[in-house]
Symmetry: C2
Subunit: 301 residues, 2 copies
C-alpha cells in the first residue's frame, strides 16, 4: 500500500566530532522517504526552491519514491538548516535556519495522490498538518510528528491535530513537554488520552518505546560504534516504522511491536555517515540482516 | 556458590516527587545483598555504628545473607546519606553526607569468608577495594563498581584496581568520564583494554549494556510507571547480575547476557517504593514472573 509523506526537504550543513558536511541533502520528508521506501512505494509531498540541486532529486528518483508531489517553486529558495552535534550527540544545536520556501504557502497534494490511505505528517505547524489531511479523500492511518516549538506556541492547534491522527511519533523530550509527565510510559498514556491509538517515543542512542491501547514495548538502540551524524535519525525511525506498517497493512499490537524494531534498525544505518550517504544505496538485504541480528540479540529464551 | 560483597550500609533520607522517607535503610551493600540473595547465599562485609537500628539488621537477617562480616563498631556512627530526586529522576542530588564510620578503617573479612570465590566490590576508594581483595585466599571472579569522585581524584589507583578485576559495573556517566569516549560501546571497549573481561553499563530508565570480549548486548529498562525512589537501583542491578552469575557458576557470553536481564528486572522492583520496602519481602516467584514477562516483551522472532 503506498504511503504518503509530507514534510521538509532541505539543504543541510552539519558539524559533528567526526567531520563536517556542507550543503548536503536533508529534511524530514527526505529521511522518512528513504527509510519507508525500503518497504512500500512512497508518495512525497513537499516544496523546494529553484536552487534545489538536480543530483538531490536523483537520489530520491533512485528509490521507490513518487515525486509527482514535489513542487519546485519558481522564485523561491529551498529550506536550509545548519547544525552541530557534540559529546554524546543526542541533540543537535541549530546554528542557522533559513525557512525560505517553508515560510510560504504549503504544498498541494496532487490529484493522483488524493486516494492515499496511509499518511505520515512530518513535523510542521499543526494547522498545516490538518490542512494537508483535508486534501485526502479517505485516509485510514494517519501518523504525525511534532516539535517543542508547536507544543509551546500552538498547543491548542496541536491538540486538535492529535484528535484526528491514529498514531504519534515524538522524542522523549517532546512527550514529556507535551504531557507534563516525566515517566515516559505515563507520558505515552497521556498522549493516548488525547486521541491517538499508539505513540512511539524516540530516545536517540537509548532506542524507543511503544505505548498503545493494547500494551507497551521498549527497545534499546541498536548497538553501534559507528555514529558520525545523527541528523535524520528520528525521521528515519518514523520511516522504518510506517513503511513496515504499510507493508503489513495492519496496526495490531504485534505489527506495531515489529514496526518498532524496523524503525530502530533503520535509524542505526542513517547515523553511520553524514546526510543520506549511508542510506541512499542501502539494500533491503542489508536492512533485513541487521533486523535479524537485532532480534537475535534481544532473544533471551 | 556464596557471593561476598563489601560496600556501604547506611541510614538514608530520600525525597522524590512521590514523597519522603526519613532515616530508612540504605547503602550499596544492602541493596546489592537483597538482590543477589534471591539467587545465592550472600556474605556481607561492612561496618556500621552503634546507632544502627536492630530492625534494619532484621531486614538483612530475614534473607539469605550471612552477617558474620558485619561489624558494629563501638563509639562509631553509621554512614548517613540524604538525597533528592527530581524530574525524570535519573540522578540523585546529594543534600547531606556524613561518612561517619566509613571515614575510619575499613571492615575486615572474617576467616570464615576468606575462601570466597566470587566477590563484588561496591563503590569505595579503589585502594580499599584492593585491600579487601588481599584478604581473600583465591578469588575467582571479582567485579567492582566505582564513582566519579575516584575517576577524578584517584585515577591511578582505580586503574590498578581495574587491572585485577574480571568485571566492572558502572553507570553511563562514569564510563564516559573514565574513558573520554562518548559512545558507550567505545567506552566499554576502552575499559576492557584496561583489564576486565566484561563491563556492564547502567543507564537508569534506559536500561543497560554489556560489553565483553565475546560480544555486546543492550537492554531497555523494564517498562514501568511505578517509580517512586530510584535509590539503590544501580546496586540492585549489580546484585541481580552477580547473584545470577554466581548461581550459574560461569561467565560465558550467554550467562552474562542472561545476567543483564536479571539485573535490569531486579532494579525495576527496587524503584517501586522508598528504601528497601519493595524488595525486602520480594519473592523469587515474583522476580521470575517479571523476568519471563521481560523476555517475552523482547522476543520478536
Amino acid at each position: 500500500m503506498p504511503l504518503l509523506v509530507t514534510g521538509s526537504i532541505g539543504i543541510d550543513t552539519v558539524v559533528s566530532p567526526y567531520g563536517r558536511a556542507e550543503g548536503v541533502l536533508g529534511g524530514s520528508a527526505v529521511y522518512f522517504s528513504l527509510a519507508a521506501s525500503q518497504y512500500v512505494p512512497v508518495r512525497l509531498v513537499g516544496v523546494v526552491g529553484e536552487d534545489f540541486p538536480p543530483e538531490f532529486r536523483k537520489v530520491l528518483e533512485g528509490r521507490n519514491i513518487d515525486l509527482r508531489g514535489l513542487e519546485v517553486r519558481k522564485g523561491s529558495k529551498t529550506f536550509r538548516w545548519s547544525g552541530r552535534f557534540e559529546g554524546a550527540m543526542n541533540q543537535a544545536e541549530t546554528l542557522e535556519l533559513d525557512l525560505n520556501v517553508l515560510a510560504e504557502r504549503g504544498p498541494k497534494v496532487p490529484e493522483v495522490f488524493a486516494d492515499s490511505k496511509m499518511v505520515f505528517l512530518a513535523n510542521t505547524h499543526p494547522t498545516l498538518q490538518r490542512d494537508l489531511l483535508k486534501q485526502l479523500r479517505s485516509p485510514e492511518l494517519v501518523v504525525c510528528d511534532t516539535m517543542d516549538l508547536w507544543i509551546t506556541t500552538e498547543r491548542e492547534s496541536l491538540v486538535e491535530t492529535l484528535r484526528v491522527v491514529h498514531g504519534v511519533i515524538v522524542n522523549d523530550g517532546e512527550a514529556r513537554q507535551l504531557t507534563g509527565k516525566m515517566n515516559l510510559f505515563d507520558a505515552g498514556e497521556a498522549i493516548l488520552a488525547l486521541g491517538p491509538r499508539f505513540v512511539m517515543i524516540k530516545k536517540g542512542e537509548h532506542g524507543g518505546l511503544l505505548v498503545s491501547r493494547d500494551g507497551v514495548a521498549a527497545l534499546p538502540g541498536f548497538p553501534t560504534t559507528r555514529v558520525k551524524d545523527p541528523t535524520g535519525a528520528g525521521d528515519t525511525f518514523a520511516g522504518g516504522i510506517l513503511g513496515y506498517i504499510a507493508s503489513v497493512g495492519r496496526t495490531d499490537f504485534e505489527t506495531l511491536r515489529q514496526a518498532l524494531v524496523r524503525g530502530t534498525v533503520a535509524a542505526s544505518f542513517v547515523i553511520e555517515d553524514f546526510s543520506v550517504r549511508r542510506v541512499e544505496g542501502l539494500t533491503r538485504a542489508e536492512l533485513d540482516r541487521r533486523v535479524a541480528e537485532f532480534v537475535k540479540m534481544l532473544r533471551f529464551g
